[in-house]
Symmetry: C2
Subunit: 381 residues, 2 copies
């Protein structure tokens, strides 16, 4: 069974897990919407190549600026998206976006450690910020980003694209409506075999290993699936490094969480193996899994609820997830609403990541101060 | 792809993970084998109903005695298997098996807490012991069982049926031969929605919750898949108990392990949800999963190795796993060989179970003394 058009459209109006979709936009903007929210895209790498067509597909977003260290590359992309050459900026003259009225917001798609600097500079330039996950490399940076956006009275949203993926929303609906019964346990993994030389292997740029990059999907999913914050967690990390890629960041991390209701979760992430992202949620009346869960398309929900098979392929195709997140953030910008996943949502994950590192005994990454957001006991209810 | 007959037969001759199959029998016993090993089955419940036809299907095993608290039930089964009425025992007169030369061994299929008593009594009666998992409810009982069998010079094997399942052996072969590359991480879950009133909900009989009953499959699999013993582990347990089944044993357990090579594992078990048993093994050259993994039949191996799809349905049908374990143990008895999974193998799992309970902060179960078999640090390599 797949969602029909009406069901797909309805997903946008669902208000599911508490607080999860509090500002989800109507699927169609006001008929008279005069102007699209203009985005300057900072960092023209792989993820930006998904965001830009997504934003263009939306009803209320446009690409109106580009920020890159590679002028040639930026000019080609500018031609593709109709961005004036005058709206191409370098990292050095980036702050001049303050004077460009076509740019309402920035989309930060830089290596992790640069998120804080460019979010804060964008806020100071009076621009709203849609920042890729992970929010930053440190809790301190994340807090500084939130403070800067508040001080400048601009919106800050972290680009958790799965918050807009139809079958993820459907899973939350099934859980929240009680169709899964009492949830008992969750299992989730996500990892991949990283190519040598990627900036993600540089600790200063990445902050850490696969937990920052892909493990965060499992971590975040456990939170939105349960609607709870972890009460406690424990982790192990390891670096086997059979082919010398891992001189800076750890290769593997596995962690276990306990939520206040008693739900337990087991997760793992790796840069050393192809580990197709999935989650499985086990409830007293049935189970559901999304596998693959974190791809840009082809996301597949299946399971069994009260003896009935569940099998729904997401109707979304790349770049739908990016389209939906742009649509939502632009809607919030235009209507002065708090985004679905504001900076505080990203900060929570950063604190759990810090706690996982602390538990795994890894020296806290570059500029990361340990924070104790999760208490040790009680381990049992 | 499924195994052809030749490959299936060959599995029996594989010597894979170090120590895993050190005494696997030839698939055909010596042509002149004069006599089958006779088993008295102790406890005529669900698992015995799989073992008995399995033993009968083997070339070298027979059912020659029954031990039950229900004479009527025992007499019906005796008729079915050709067991003389004089070879039916109660729990009270059980020790008289010492004088029954048709009984070479016992198969202990009682509630967990009774394994120790009947293993020790069988040993004292001079009979070899094939005992269901979990070996016992406590480490102390497990050690006493091993000591009693050693003192009586009888064999003791724990009935880990998956050690004989063809696609489990195939997985070990794929890992051990390097076709999966460097293994980085394992994920495994197994649980089910337990019926009210089961003896497994009685802590004195069961020892504890789902970890004893089904989580042990994931625990044991992580060990035979890696060929390593966990260097450290951490766990959480919880009892949500939305329908009052869990006044004695915990409902959920999730745990994370780190192996000496750096492999990490994430596992979960529950009595509160149907959680089809599976494992996934992630290596640098590919991944493999068995899902379902721990069923009596229909066990399904799939994955991807160096870009090639892997898809093998186990050729075994219930009660093959029981047939194979009986065949192996009888072979060991007849030829004075150490069984594949001796008492010491069961004891290891009991120690890890104790460590998981300790980590989860659960008061150590009835008669279980905590043992520190796993050190805390190091958590990272």
């Amino acid at each position: 069974m797949t969602l029909n058009r009406r069901e797909f459209a309805q997903l946008g109006a669902l208000s599911l897990a508490a607080g999860f979709m509090r500002a989800l936009p109507a699927q169609t903007p006001p008929a008279a919407a005069p102007r699209k929210t203009g985005y300057a895209v900072i960092g023209l790498g792989r993820i930006a190549a998904h965001f830009m067509p997504g934003a263009v597909n939306s009803t209320n977003s446009a690409i109106t600026g580009l920020v890159s260290g590679h002028r040639d590359k930026a000019e080609k992309i500018a031609a593709q998206y109709g961005v004036p050459l005058a709206s191409i900026y370098s990292y050095d003259n980036f702050d001049e976006i303050a004077h460009n009225p076509a740019i309402d917001a920035v989309y930060v798609a830089l290596p992790n450690s640069m998120h804080a600097e460019f979010t804060i500079r964008a806020a100071k330039a009076g621009k709203h910020v849609l920042c890729e996950k992970p929010m930053a490399t440190t809790v301190a940076d994340s807090e500084a980003m939130i403070a800067a956006c508040k001080a400048a009275n601009v919106k800050l949203m972290i680009a958790y694209r799965c918050h807009f993926e139809p079958v993820h929303l459907r899973s939350i609906q099934l859980i929240h409506s009680g169709q899964l019964g009492q949830v008992q346990a969750i299992s989730s993994c996500f990892g991949y075999n990283i190519a040598p030389g990627e900036w993600r292997l540089n600790k200063k740029l990445a902050g850490g290993g696969p937990l920052y990059d892909v493990g965060i999907y499992s971590l975040n999913a456990c939170r939105y699936l349960t609607g709870e914050e972890p009460a406690a967690l424990e982790a192990y990390a390891s670096t086997i490094d059979h082919d010398s890629r891992f001189s800076e960041v750890e290769e593997n991390t596995a962690w276990t969480m306990r939520f206040p209701s008693g739900i337990v979760a087991s997760c793992a992430t790796t840069y050393g193996a192809n580990m197709s992202g999935y989650f499985k949620v086990y409830g007293s009346k049935g189970w559901l899994a999304i596998d693959p869960a974190f791809n840009y398309e082809g996301v597949h929900l299946h399971g069994e609820l009260s003896g009935q098979a569940l099998d729904e392929l997401s109707p979304s195709h790349d770049p739908y997830q990016f389209q939906a997140e742009a649509e939502h953030f632009s809607h919030c910008v235009e209507n002065n609403l708090e985004p679905q996943c504001p900076g505080e949502e990203g900060l929570r994950d950063m604190k759990y990541i810090a706690e996982i590192y602390r538990s795994a005994g890894i020296p806290v990454p570059w500029r990361m101060e340990p924070v104790s957001v999760v208490s040790g006991p009680p381990r049992t209810s």
